[in-house]
């Protein structure tokens, strides 16, 4: 028996002359997922903008799950191809379908069967075969129910000249554009719910990302790093490979809070994080920053305060959540698997220093004069020197870099 996997690529029809590039990026990414999760030989063909994988072994759930996280893929459909018996006998096909549906023994699901005769000489009519399949499934699994519109299970049978292909399920990919086709960015993670979702949304748009976390040790402990690593581990599954940079920020935070008005602390912290992130982008050759900002969510996210961050950044700051409600963000976090990590409590240095009345509409004169009077360049560079770097593979495994290198 041969096992097939049909993968369709999203948005390829939008790309005129660049189709080859997009297809190539998607294939490279899929192939590295195969190398990590499929341990038998496989072959690959491109037909009508779809990718056809064949292998002598079945595809594991881990492989399928990993593929559903590859940006740019719209559907992943595993199928089995078996030789056709003589005399238009389909008994072995029916048996195989029932076998594939064994999970219906314990769960109740809706299904429909669709049969296509690619071999025009096959005399039994498709609808007859469909009805036969439906009858056999219901008899064998009384919990299953037929539903022709939007069923939970789609039994797809194609009758070819010498073979029959059977597929009982198709998995939806995240769609969008293949990894790295739109450019690279640095995502600023905080440990909360928002930034991981922002990262996911931009991963979907094909942006290759690295991650940065500002660690306010000794104001916060080391426990938070475990949480950040767990988040990056999850987010890395939407990347082909990535990096995590941890920049010490406690000393800078203490310095800022000693020197500025209480209510400006948080936005000055953010400003210097943005500056540090830009310095890191210089080294990484990244084009933009990604943050989880959503307008008006907290005091530092008023339009006025966000505008100050734009001025502080020499790069575009991408804020995919800008118009999202919190509930929408939380739902997305659940769907991508970061909710359960973000919800774990952690020390937050910003909360530690937070003023009771943080500024909402900043006095630009105060901001500008403070900026003129304070120069933290040497402190920022020192922090960058003490940065810790990790590389992360597409399985989400994190490795500490022995020496600093920027070959990302």
């Amino acid at each position: 028996m041969v096992f097939h996997l049909v993968i369709s690529i999203d948005e390829l029809w939008l790309k005129g002359k660049n189709q080859r590039l997009y297809l190539r990026s998607a294939i490279d990414h899929i192939n590295s997922v195969f190398k990590n999760y499929h341990f038998d030989k496989f072959s690959q063909k491109i037909k009508f903008q779809r990718l056809y994988y064949s292998s002598p072994s079945p595809y594991s759930d881990e492989l399928i799950t990993a593929l559903t996280k590859v940006p740019g893929l719209s559907y992943i459909s595993p199928s089995k191809v078996m030789p056709r018996a003589p005399n238009e006998d389909l008994e072995n096909v029916y048996a195989e379908i029932l076998n594939e549906l064994s999970f219906l023994e314990y769960t109740s699901k809706t299904f429909r069967a669709s049969v296509r005769r690619i071999d025009q000489f096959f005399s039994q009519h498709s609808t007859v075969i469909e009805r036969e399949i439906g009858h056999r499934v219901i008899t064998r699994y009384p919990r299953a129910k037929v539903k022709l519109q939007k069923p939970e299970i789609e039994i797809d049978v194609r009758i070819l000249a010498k073979e029959v292909s059977i597929s009982v399920n198709s998995y939806k990919g995240i769609g969008g554009l293949p990894w790295g086709t739109t450019g690279s960015a640095l995502t600023m993670l905080s440990g909360g719910f928002d930034s991981p979702v922002a990262s996911f949304l931009m991963a979907k748009r094909g942006i290759k990302q690295s991650f940065v976390f500002f660690h306010a040790y000794p104001f916060v402990g080391r426990e938070v790093l475990t949480k950040i690593k767990k988040l990056v581990s999850e987010l890395a599954k939407y990347q082909r490979n990535t990096h995590l940079y941890i920049i010490p920020f406690g000393d800078i935070q203490n310095l800022i809070s000693k020197n500025c008005n209480d209510e400006y602390r948080t936005i000055f912290f953010k400003k210097y994080m943005v500056e540090l992130a830009n310095l890191l982008c210089d080294r990484l050759n990244a084009t933009a920053l990604i943050t989880g900002d959503s307008v008006g969510q907290v005091s530092s996210q008023t339009m006025e305060n966000l505008h100050l961050m734009d001025i502080a950044s020499k790069r575009m700051i991408m804020r995919p959540l800008i118009g999202f409600n919190k509930l929408e963000i939380l739902n997305c976090a659940t769907a991508i698997g970061t909710h359960s990590i973000s919800i774990q409590p952690h020390d937050d240095a910003c909360a530690l220093f937070a003023s009771k009345n943080p500024i909402i509409i900043p006095d630009v004169d105060y901001w500008n004069s403070w900026e003129r009077e304070h120069n933290f360049d040497s402190e920022l560079l020192a922090a960058l020197d003490k940065m810790e770097s990790f590389s992360v593979n597409l399985r989400g495994e994190i490795f500490k870099k022995d020496f600093f290198s920027f070959d990302s």
Binding site: Y217, P218, F219, G221, N254, S257, K258, D262, P345, D347, L352, F353, S355, K356
Partner: protein
């Protein structure tokens, strides 16, 4: 490195390490073996056991069993007494979780009644309230000689006598923070007592449980019947031997170290109070080895990490439960208001702590305070 977390664990005496290494190399046989190697180890274990009974001032017919930790010793007593529905346990939620957790768990499972000991603001037992708790139905009274968080000391003789005058309850004492540091003397009012090695310069993985000859405690582990059937497991002779060495050294130098630490504690307390008037010391009647205070406004874990980068090590709450943030039931039982639970600091001294170490602690502590006090003004 300046270490002020000796109540969590302390370093080995060099003599202990030497004995331990040699014994690990030489005494590899199984004490239950029939041959002469096993037989010799068995005799050695019995002589160590009687040394411990002597150190504790116990009777020769009493039991002293070796366990893996004070947690095991406390659990053995609480779970081994076969308490039933309706029996009453008197205990303090201010005690170490190795006592409170099995007691609370047992009460839930077998529907025992729990009566909580109230403490005075200085950490001592409120005797009037305590006396009211005692009735015929009380089957276990669990006490801690020196509280591991506050360092507060209880008048063990007076309190245990009070219990025995009014009830027939089993009286258990956790003496982990007192054994080897202040005089610990058994009396006829105490039925069992836990002590451990790693708080007095011995290795981890070995502890002891004293049981009065007339005890009714059933063992937790069944098997080869070692430790007179009270704890089946092959005896870890090298650890047992190292534990004794540590105990004997500690007791030999007990008075000297006690007096030295009284002075060091006084110095730290007065000097810190002078520099930081906001500091609140509330446990006056306490061990010279442990003292704790509240510094309002600055979270104690932030302070701990600022001191740690200066290689000064203190404790924010008990090392066993430092993951707990916010409300802390142990501190609540010690009468510390909830708003200060995050500001609780413990400094604990060891036999090695010198006045120079203390000077450095004071110096660094004040430096960190100066660096962080702007946080406090806000709070």
């Amino acid at each position: 490195m300046k270490y002020f977390d000796h109540a969590a664990s302390t370093c080995l005496y060099p003599e202990v390490l030497e004995n331990l290494l040699e014994s690990l190399r030489e005494d590899f046989a199984n004490p239950s073996s029939q041959h002469v190697l096993g037989h010799d180890l068995r005799e050695k274990i019995e002589s160590v056991r009687s040394r411990f009974l002597k150190l504790l001032g116990a009777q020769a017919q009493d039991f002293f069993i070796f366990t893996s930790s004070a947690t095991e010793s406390n659990n053995t007593v609480v779970l081994g007494l076969n308490l039933n529905a309706g029996d009453t346990i008197v205990y303090s939620p201010a005690d170490h979780p190795s006592l409170t957790a099995p007691i609370e768990n047992l009460a839930k499972k077998y529907k025992c009644e729990l009566k909580k000991i109230q403490l005075n603001t200085d950490g001592t037992i409120n005797l009037d309230q305590f006396s009211d708790l005692l009735s015929e139905k009380v089957k276990l009274v669990a006490l801690t000689h020196i509280n591991n968080q506050s360092g507060a000391l209880i008048e063990i003789e007076k309190i245990t006598k009070l219990v025995k005058d009014k009830t027939a309850a089993h009286v258990h004492v956790d003496a982990v923070q007192s054994f080897g540091k202040i005089p610990v003397k058994l009396s006829c009012h105490i039925d069992s007592m836990s002590i451990t090695s790693h708080k007095i310069g011995g290795p981890k993985g070995i502890a002891g449980l004293y049981l009065k000859a007339s005890h009714k405690v059933a063992p937790l582990f069944l098997g080869g019947g070692q430790e007179k059937g009270m704890r089946s497991s092959t005896e870890a002779f090298p650890l047992i031997f190292a534990f004794l060495t540590a105990a004997e050294i500690s007791i030999k130098n007990r008075e000297f170290n006690f007096n030295k630490n009284v002075e060091i504690k006084k110095t730290i307390e007065t000097r810190l109070m002078k520099a930081i008037p906001k500091l609140q010391f509330s446990f006056q009647h306490s061990s010279p080895y442990i003292f704790s205070f509240v510094l309002p406004g600055i979270p104690s874990d932030v302070l701990l990490r600022h001191l740690e980068i200066r290689q000064v090590y203190i404790s924010s709450t008990s090392a066993c439960s430092s993951k707990i943030v916010g409300y802390n039931p142990t501190l609540a039982a010690l009468n510390i208001p909830e708003k200060h639970h995050k500001n609780f600091i413990r400094i604990s001294l060891g036999v090695q702590t010198s006045i120079e170490d203390a000077e450095l602690l004071i110096h660094e502590f004040i430096k960190v305070w100066d660096d962080l006090k702007h946080m406090n003004q806000q709070a």
